[in-house]
């Protein structure tokens, strides 16, 4: 029986727009993670590369810059949850006893503006314009406002908080605070979601080195324990995330975040009350409100009131998106979850300066996207 799996090194390339190849961006993050762990690339026994918008064999192309070894390198794609799916594969490889030291990297380089719809939608959906990612998330916001009285101001408060947090994150794309007036005055993209409430596709990379407990002790490393990790796809009629064509009007199954959270809390043997801080998928500001409810931070329908109360701010009871979230960092899809994990590793090490959550011991990273792809990782020191 192999014991727990630990993250012994973490590193990232900032998220933003860079005049560099994806191979360069990805290999820089991988090299930083190796250096942080104090291990060499030739010591790594297996590698996983999360990416969505890059060509086949991106993993080998990126990691070749560190030297050509003969280990297994696999590209992993699970939409916005690609990084979580890749990290899970590494955890499983270690738990199986197959390897005891692995590298997981997420890398992306994406054009500006709306994402290429042919990657996600059927041609007929694209012809009719049922193919703009924010529209699906916006429809969830409209329904939530209708059912629970959530307001545009509450949605804007999430964007305000995340942009404000990002001022202290050198890896974020914007690092700029915006006023509530600026946010609520920014252009509507898909009602009720506005430009300053939405994340932008961009470039970036993040990487971690994972090890078995035995290997960690051999290396004399001090790791952050992966207390639980889970990945799932939304089941029938549970979520109308893109590219859904229809939903049932008779069946309302639990959504992917709720299902994945239940699994990962159980695996970690903890409840939401044991988690000190969170990094979650704020594709748009409303999404974060819905996630407060689905992760169990508040009852269903109360997400808007949770942001009003300030509990999710740094210094609050349950801080969310201390890094500034995807709204301020941007979303290089393959890299986004690993970027969250790198942030949380640094939070648990106490290295986050003005955005540090004091005394954080347990942290949760969450991503969610196309097809209802959801991944959650819980880390513990």
């Amino acid at each position: 029986m192999v014991g727990d799996v630990y993250i012994i090194g973490a590193g990232m390339h900032s998220f933003g727009r860079f005049d560099k190849s994806y191979e360069q961006i990805g290999s820089e993050a991988a090299a930083l993670a190796l250096k942080d762990a104090g291990v060499q690339w030739r010591d790594i026994q297996s590698a996983f590369m999360a990416r969505m918008y890059l060509p086949a064999t991106s993993g080998p192309r990126i990691l070749r810059k560190l030297g050509s070894t003969d280990i297994s390198i696999i590209d992993v794609e699970a939409a916005c949850a690609s990084g979580g799916a890749a990290l899970r594969q590494a955890v499983l490889a270690i738990k199986s006893g197959d390897v005891d030291l692995a590298l997981v990297c997420g890398t992306e380089k994406m054009p500006r503006g709306f994402m290429d719809p042919s990657m996600i939608y059927s041609p007929w959906q694209v012809e009719l314009g049922i193919s703009q990612n924010p529209s699906y998330w916006a429809m969830r916001a409209m329904r939530h406002m209708h059912e629970y009285g959530t307001t545009e101001e509450q949605i804007a408060k999430v964007a305000y908080k995340n942009h404000k947090n990002s001022v202290h994150n050198p890896h974020a794309m914007y690092q700029k605070e915006f006023s509530m007036e600026q946010i609520l005055g920014s252009t509507l993209v898909c009602d009720p979601i506005r430009l300053l409430e939405i994340c932008a596709p961009n470039d970036g990379a993040a990487a971690v080195i994972v090890a078995s407990e035995k290997k960690m002790r051999q290396l004399g490393a001090k790791g952050i324990r992966i207390a639980g990790i889970s990945h799932s796809i939304s089941r029938y009629s549970s979520d109308f995330r893109c590219p859904a064509e229809s939903m049932s009007a008779r069946i309302d199954n639990a959504g992917p975040t709720e299902v994945t959270a239940r699994r990962v809390y159980e695996a970690a043997g903890i409840g939401v009350e044991d988690v000190d801080c969170f990094e979650v998928q704020d594709t748009d500001a409303f999404c974060e409100i819905e996630l407060y409810e689905e992760l169990g931070l508040c009852p269903v329908g109360e997400g808007g009131r949770l942001i009003d109360g300030g509990e999710v701010e740094i210094g609050g009871k349950t801080p969310v998106n201390m890094s500034g979230g995807l709204i301020s960092k941007g979303e290089p899809i393959g890299a986004s979850h690993l970027g969250q994990v790198v942030e949380l590793v640094e939070q648990l090490r106490g290295n986050c300066g003005p955005r540090q959550v004091k005394g954080a011991k347990v942290a949760l990273a969450h991503v969610l996207g196309a097809g209802g792809n959801c991944a959650i990782t819980i880390l513990s020191r």
Binding site: G113, F114, M115, D116, P117, S118, S122, P123, W124, V126, E127, L128, G129, I130, S131, Q132, S135, A138, M139, R140, A141, M142, R143, H146, T187, L188, V189, C190, D191, P192, I193, Y236, S237, F240, A244, E245, S246, M247, S248, A249, R250, I251
Partner: protein, 142 residues
């Protein structure tokens, strides 16, 4: 002679495309779980069962939720060259299915719960000279 017509997606519509006032959305009802999938399909999207019966979905719908697309959608969008914001919504039909659909009503008049009516139309003529039939929903009574 009138142009040949094809559906924008195989199996999406019931009825002859020659007479648009007799065209409706098609569905497939599962004999095992009784769920209805959109269009003519070979297996149930809930349980995977292959014992499906074709059904014709009603033309009346209720708006479950919506958004307004304020900027031209990316890629091969075939809407007007001079882009105008349009509604997009989940339209509940016959209490069995909610279909993601473009809405032709003035976006400023959209409201959850409003009554809608199915509206098939000629979207464009393709490279073979065939008319491509698409659909939208109008406000009921318009």
């Amino acid at each position: 002679m009138a142009a040949e017509r094809i559906a924008i997606k195989d199996g999406l519509f019931a009825g002859s495309l020659e007479r648009l006032d007799e065209v409706h959305l098609a569905g497939s009802r599962c004999g095992a779980c009784e769920e209805t999938s959109l269009g003519v399909t070979s297996s149930c999207s809930n349980c995977g069962d292959e014992n499906l019966s074709p059904v014709v979905l009603g033309d009346a719908g209720t708006l479950y939720t919506y958004t307004v697309v304020r900027h031209r959608p990316p890629g091969n969008y075939q809407g007007p060259a001079d882009f105008k914001p349009f509604g997009l919504g989940l339209v509940e039909i016959d209490n069995v299915i909610r279909v993601m659909a473009p809405l032709s009503t003035d976006p400023e008049r959209l409201q959850i719960g409003m009554q809608l009516k199915f509206h098939p139309y000629v979207l464009r003529t393709n490279e073979k000279g065939e008319e491509v039939i698409a659909f939208t929903y109008d406000a009921a009574g318009e």
